[in-house]
């Protein structure tokens, strides 16, 4: 399943869905909003901009690549849009495979590729009132 959504996601629900594949291993990665910026300043929120139709196509391409490369049985990618506070969920990757090695490697591959290719941008707002786009 491939989704970009404003609302939060359920890890349990996603794992339950992937269990239907009969996989022996399901690896999940959850990305969340950090409490502090790169310079250690307190973060108030992050807000997203997305080229959504293209991002969904890229998610689907990455999903297919990962399934082929790592013999995955299924993959779920969920990315939030809108605005989130520190500690809130941002992204959920779940990879199901017969064995753990493929599931771990597949999950990492998907996350690394999303960070490099998917047209999504976050704007960080800091407690001092400043804000900036995180690009690259």
């Amino acid at each position: 399943m491939i989704r970009i959504q404003a609302e939060d996601f359920s890890i349990d629900e996603t794992v339950r869905m992937l269990r239907k594949t009969g996989a022996g291993a399901i690896v999940t990665f959850t990305g969340a909003v950090r409490e502090t910026s790169h310079e250690g300043k307190p973060v108030v929120s992050v807000e997203w901009d997305a080229y959504e139709p293209m991002a969904l196509k890229i998610f689907e391409a990455i999903r297919r690549e990962a399934m082929e490369k790592f013999a995955l049985l299924d993959v779920s990618i969920t990315h939030r849009k809108g605005k989130q506070a520190p500690g809130e969920n941002l992204v959920l990757i779940a990879a199901a495979a017969a064995h753990r090695r493929d599931a771990f490697h597949g999950c990492k591959y998907i996350m690394d590729e999303i960070k490099q290719r998917a047209p999504l941008w976050k704007k960080e707002r800091l407690a001092d009132g400043s804000e900036r786009w995180i690009e690259g």
Partner: protein, 82 residues
Amino acid sequence: MKIRCLFFASLREKMQTSEIELEMESGTAKDAADRLRLLHPGAAPDFDRLAIALNERYCKPDAELRDGDVLAFIPPVSGGGM
């Protein structure tokens, strides 16, 4: 031909709009970017660090444009967790 140009993140803020329609005789993605640089000199340096997508796929600067194409100017992306 008419080309729909889309802007995101910091570039959208500098261009002060999320999209512009360019009227061109013919040309490439780079030609369209050069036109936009002239229209918005304040955002011109940004175009050096952008990727370009033609009809929702990353393309090279020399990609030829056709009437009705959608060209997206993509700043370095920052999706995912931390």
